[in-house]
Amino acid sequence: MIAIVDYGVGNLFSLHSSLKKVGCETVVTSDKKTIENAEKIILPGVGAFEDAAKKLRDSGLDAVVKAEVKKGKYLMGICLGMQMLFEKSFEYGEHQGLGLLKGNVVPMKGYIDKDLKIPHIGWNKLHFEKPHFLFKYCKESDFVYFVHSYFATDCKESVIATTEYGKMLTAAVGKDNVLGCQFHPEKSGDVGLNILRAFCEA
C-alpha cells in the first residue's frame, strides 16, 4: 500500500488514478496511522512553497514523514513535494524544507536565459545523471511533463536526472530511500506511468 499524503495542497485525483492504473494499491490520506502502516509514501504538492510547508507542519505530518523515512521507508516527492525534501527554499523569502536531502530550491528567474518563459511548462527530455531504479522502464531522452518556476540546486549528491531549459535543471533526485521528481509522472503519459511502476516495485 502506498500512502499519498493529503495535507491540503494540490489535486490528487490524477496521481491516485495513475497509481491505480499501474496496479498499485494506493490511499490518499492525512491520517498518521495510515501513513505509518503504508509501505511507501508519496508527498505531492502544487502552489507556493511557504504555504505548502506551513500546511504540512500544521498538520503534524512533516514529523510523521520524517520518522518513517528514518525507519527506511521509501518516500517520493512530486513537484513541490520534491522541492520540500531539501533544506531551504528561496521562493518569496527563505523557508525551511524537510531537510531530507542536501540542497536548496531557487528561482529560475535570473538563472536561465531571460528569453525563456517562466514557468517552465511543457514536455521536456530526461537526461540521466546516474543509473537509478526509477528509470528501469525508461530511456535517456524520454519526455516528461514539467510545470515549475523554481528548481533544486546544490544537490549533486542526490540528482539522478536533469533536463535542459537554457541550463541543465534538476529533474529527479534519489538518495537511499528518498526520491523525488520535479516533473509530474502522473501527467507524463506512459513514461510517467513507468516511473511510478518502478517506484511501486521498489
Binding site: 495513475s18 518563459k117 535542459e164
Partner: protein, 252 residues
C-alpha cells in the same frame, strides 16, 4: 529544450463529443473518453475539453465524463466552458482537470482570474480569448463569439496575465473555420505583449499551417485545433514528423 505542443480540442455537449469524428478505424465516436484515449495514444501533448452544455444536468454529466477521462488518460487536461466562479474551478479540478480555461466568465466577473490564480496557482488559470477585427482594431468577443465587448484584445490579454492567468489561448474568429492558416498577425502581437505560454487556435487546415505557425513565431508554444484532427484530415503523428523535418522541436 521544451517542445512545441499539439493540442486537440473536444467540444462536449451533454456528455458527448459534438463535432463528428471520422478516423480510419474509429468512426462516429461519441464518447469523449474514447476519443481522449485515442488522442493520448497518438501523440497529443495535451487535451482541451470544452463543455458547451447549457443545463445543470448536462454539467453533471460532463463532470462524470471528466472524471472517467482523467482516470484513464495521463496527459494534461484543460477544461473550459461555463466557468464563472471559483466554485466552477473547484468542480472541474476535483474531477481531474489540470487547468481551467475562462472566457466570458472572466469578462463578466473581473475578479475571477485573480481569485482563481490565488487559490489554485497561475499555472492552473488559462485565459481564452475570442478575437475579431472590428474597424481595424482587435476586439474581444464574449458568449461564444456572439457579443462584441468593444474591448481592445491585446490590452485585455495583458490585464488577464497581470492578474494571474498563466497561459493564453488566442482564438481568431477571422481565421476560425476558414482552414487557411492561423492568424499570424494577431498571434505575433499577443506573443510580444505577454511572457506566459501562448496557444494558437483557429484556422488550421493543413500540416503546412502548423509549420508556418511555429516558423513565423518562435515564441508561440502550442497549436490547437479541432475538426482537422477529428475528421482525420491531419493525423497527429504525421504532423509531428512533418514538424520535426522542419526543425521544429516536438515530442515524438
Amino acid at each position: 529544450m521544451i517542445t512545441k505542443r499539439i493540442i486537440p480540442c473536444l467540444d462536449v455537449k451533454d456528455g458527448k463529443v459534438v463535432k463528428g469524428v471520422n478516423f480510419a478505424g474509429l468512426r462516429d465516436v461519441a464518447s469523449p473518453v474514447d476519443l481522449a484515449k485515442f488522442y493520448s495514444d497518438n501523440g497529443a501533448d495535451e487535451l482541451v475539453f470544452y463543455d458547451i452544455t447549457a443545463s445543470a444536468e448536462g454539467r453533471a454529466l460532463f463532470t462524470d465524463i471528466l472524471r472517467e477521462t482523467a482516470s484513464s488518460v495521463f496527459i494534461p487536461l484543460t477544461v473550459g466552458g461555463g466557468i464563472r466562479t471559483t466554485d466552477d474551478f473547484e468542480r472541474v479540478l476535483a474531477c481531474g482537470a489540470d487547468k481551467v480555461s475562462v472566457n466570458s466568465g472572466a469578462i463578466a466577473n473581473r475578479d475571477l482570474i485573480g481569485e482563481a490564480a490565488k487559490k489554485y496557482g497561475d499555472q492552473c488559470v488559462v485565459i481564452s480569448a475570442d478575437i475579431k477585427r472590428v474597424n481595424g482594431a482587435f476586439h474581444v468577443f464574449a458568449k461564444g463569439g456572439r457579443e462584441d465587448t468593444g474591448m481592445e484584445a491585446i490590452e485585455w490579454i495583458k490585464r488577464c496575465v497581470g492578474e494571474g492567468a498563466g497561459e493564453v489561448v488566442v482564438n481568431s474568429m477571422d481565421t476560425d473555420g476558414v482552414k487557411k492558416g492561423f492568424d499570424i498577425e494577431l498571434l505575433k502581437l499577443v506573443c510580444k505583449a505577454v511572457d506566459v505560454p501562448v496557444i494558437a487556435s483557429g484556422g488550421a487546415g493543413s500540416q503546412a499551417d502548423f509549420v508556418t505557425l511555429f516558423q513565423e513565431i518562435s515564441t508561440i508554444d502550442a497549436g490547437l485545433a479541432a475538426s482537422v484532427f477529428h475528421f482525420g484530415e491531419i493525423a497527429i503523428p504525421d504532423l509531428k514528423n512533418t514538424l520535426k523535418k522542419n526543425n521544429i522541436n516536438v515530442r515524438l
